[in-house]
Symmetry: C2
């Protein structure tokens, strides 16, 4: 039987920052070949599909510096130390949009780009909301709330207008879940 074992020969910490750390590792495969791998360790992240009682999905538009652009996304943020992912989803939704989710359930969890980062994303769902005032964190005061009919959001996916990966996945999974939208 073929062996798929890899062993770590060397692991060098290149940078340790607020949200990410960068390692350059040397690993040896079963044939003895040495491979170099650049690995970004990243704090885990959480997002939420929030639907109001008119089947609008609560989206936000915000500046994303890596792209020098404002993207349309589901409310999301980074997991605080020892925070429960579901609590984090509720908190981020409230901070960014003002909506209180009275009940949430998990929709999915996935690795955002497994080739170079260990970032894991926890996706939640709520269709039980109460409107309120947002309380943005410092540096997040550019966030605009955009209510979009879920049906329209699915069409935006088909037209290639949703550029943020987690949001694209979230819209498709939400449509699959509620079952009221023809995909």
């Amino acid at each position: 039987m073929k062996s798929y074992e890899f062993t770590v020969v060397e692991s060098k910490l290149v940078y340790e920052g607020a949200i990410i750390s960068l390692y350059v590792d040397k690993i040896r495969n079963a044939e003895g070949r040495i491979l170099e791998r650049e690995v970004v360790k990243h704090v885990d992240a959480v997002g939420i599909v929030a639907l109001d009682d008119k089947d609008n999905i609560v989206l936000v538009r915000q500046y994303r510096h890596p792209l020098r652009a404002r993207l349309l996304e589901i409310p999301a943020g980074l997991l605080a130390d020892r925070e429960d992912p579901a609590d984090c989803a509720v908190r981020e939704l409230r901070e960014e949009t003002g909506y209180r989710a009275r009940k949430v359930e998990k929709l999915a969890e996935f690795y955002t780009s497994a080739g170079f980062t260990d970032e894991q994303f926890f996706l939640f769902f709520s269709a039980d909301l109460e409107a309120g005032d947002p309380s943005p964190e410092p540096g997040e005061d550019d966030i605009e709330v955009v209510l979009t009919p879920l049906r329209e959001a699915v069409e935006m996916v088909s037209r290639g207008e949703i550029k943020d990966a987690k949001t694209l996945t979230a819209i498709l999974m939400a449509a699959q879940k509620v079952g009221r939208i023809e995909l």
Copy 2:
């Protein structure tokens, strides 16, 4: 009208490697507040949903060092310098699985994790395949080909068994596209 302008005050290159570069930037928002942003510049990536004539999706299982685990994924790889994304999709499918895609079309393009990286992913689709022998690149010889009925792949998404984000998106978009699967 509220201003959403951000200006770059400082951009420091911390690491420049084979696939990624790391920058630590200082940016100023409209209120004059200075924010620090860690940015990973990443080569763009390409993947393909390939369906054989029995509606099996061609998946691969391979070692992902950031997770110290083998993940089930669509065939994918990094865009070579000046390579056309569609050509790259055909090449990666052939190298990793042996299948030749005679016709491909674009399904989506998205940013994998816009908060910290500019990595863009181009997703293609082909249902016109010819089987052949794989020709893995050095270091990719641990790749196993896994043919999975598309219907079963959709069920694996529902059961939370697909952990790779692009693969999760790809399966849902493929099912939406072919329209033969109840989501």
